[in-house]
């Protein structure tokens, strides 16, 4: 009995050695995806999106354009000038334009009516240039003013409900030479493309996490990407033709994702690799 209970000195040593041997193995088994997650966590502090936030806030308050006016009277859905909480309710129906709009198309509306800019010209301007770059900065700041809040898109207006259904059809629509749809990558749990995890956007938590992270700063190319640019590049990689900036198709997809993400937490502006 006593012999069974006692571990000899040699036994202790071998046990210790055994434990030491298993530890490096466990470390070696840290997956590639875990390492990338660690890398992303390290990037969180000092997100260059902060620079675009600062720029956006300044642009909101600055008198600009042919009418030399600021955007401080812009109605993002919660009343003129109300920015806090506006982003987590977009896209939504606007009575003054009679249509459902997302943040960026609504900014074009305000830049035209309040400041006198030409919305069509801005829509045609490539991302990152001229006034289009300013729209991205504004969108970054406005999204940051809803950081931590929960998505709560309205579906009370018939136009909002119609756009949800259109967005759903667009999400599953297959096309292009590769027969890709949004759903090809974003309709299942726990899938990844190469080493990039793919959110399932058909429901939470994927919908809230995926939709709620853009605008985001992409470290790999040092660019600030708005939601419109994220959708644009998705369509490019799907081998589709070019979705027009602020088009109804992009807005409908925003409604589909945002409604699916109801209750999800807004994390934008996020940082991506």
């Amino acid at each position: 009995m006593q012999q069974q209970a006692r571990l000899t000195g040699l036994g202790h040593f071998l046990l210790g050695l055994g434990l030491l041997c298993t530890v490096p193995l466990a470390l070696a088994q840290k997956s590639a995806t875990d390492s990338i997650a660690e890398y992303r966590a390290m990037l969180q502090d000092g997100n260059p999106a902060d620079l675009f936030e600062a720029k956006g806030e300044a642009l909101w308050k600055q008198k600009r354009g042919p009418k030399n006016a600021s955007l401080e009277q812009c109605d993002l859905g919660k009343g003129p000038g109300v920015v806090k909480g506006a982003w987590v309710e977009l896209p939504r129906y606007f009575a003054d334009t009679g249509r459902v709009q997302d943040l960026e198309s609504r900014l074009l509306t305000c830049m035209q009516t309040l400041q006198g800019f030409d919305a069509d010209e801005i829509a045609k301007t490539p991302f990152g240039r001229g006034e289009q770059a300013n729209v991205t900065a504004l969108a970054t700041w406005i999204a940051s003013e809803s950081k931590g809040m929960k998505f709560n898109l309205s579906q009370s207006h018939i136009e909002e409900r119609k756009m949800y259904e259109v967005g759903k059809r667009l999400f599953f629509m297959r096309g292009g030479p590769h027969d890709f749809a949004c759903a090809t990558c974003h309709a299942q749990d726990d899938k990844r493309i190469r080493l990039q995890d793919l959110p399932n956007i058909t429901k939470n938590p994927g919908a809230g996490n995926g939709f709620g992270a853009w605008p985001a700063y992409r470290v790999s190319n040092g660019q600030m990407w708005s939601a419109q640019l994220r959708l644009n590049d998705c369509y490019r990689q799907q081998r589709f033709p070019y979705p027009l900036f602020g088009s109804e198709a992009t807005i409908a997809l925003g409604v589909y994702m945002g409604v699916n993400g109801k209750g999800g937490e807004a994390t934008a502006p996020a940082i991506k690799r």
């Binding site: 502090d45 000092g46 997100n47 260059p48 620079l51 600062a54 720029k55 040092g222």
Partner: protein, 103 residues
Amino acid sequence: MADPMRIRAQASGDKATVRVLMSHEMESGQRKDASGKLVPAWHIQDITATLNGKPVMTAEWGPAVSKNPFLQFAIKGAKAGDKVAITWKDNKGESRTDEATVS
């Protein structure tokens, strides 16, 4: 005039942690554009940090530092209310200084 830096300085114990985000293209001078031409070097070379006007840190940066660089360092003896100023100077001679108060 270049875009402003974002500076946060937080006192804790006998030191303050300073975090700075700088807005700069930081072209290394080794990159080629779409037509194959070298994009000329344009990056920050010198950094100076001062505490209430007195230099506490200097840095020399080369082409390896990436775009929109993030810098973090600690200043011993800094307390809430002190003024931290950061100045950067790039290889084109452009310069920018921003200030923040330690919280």
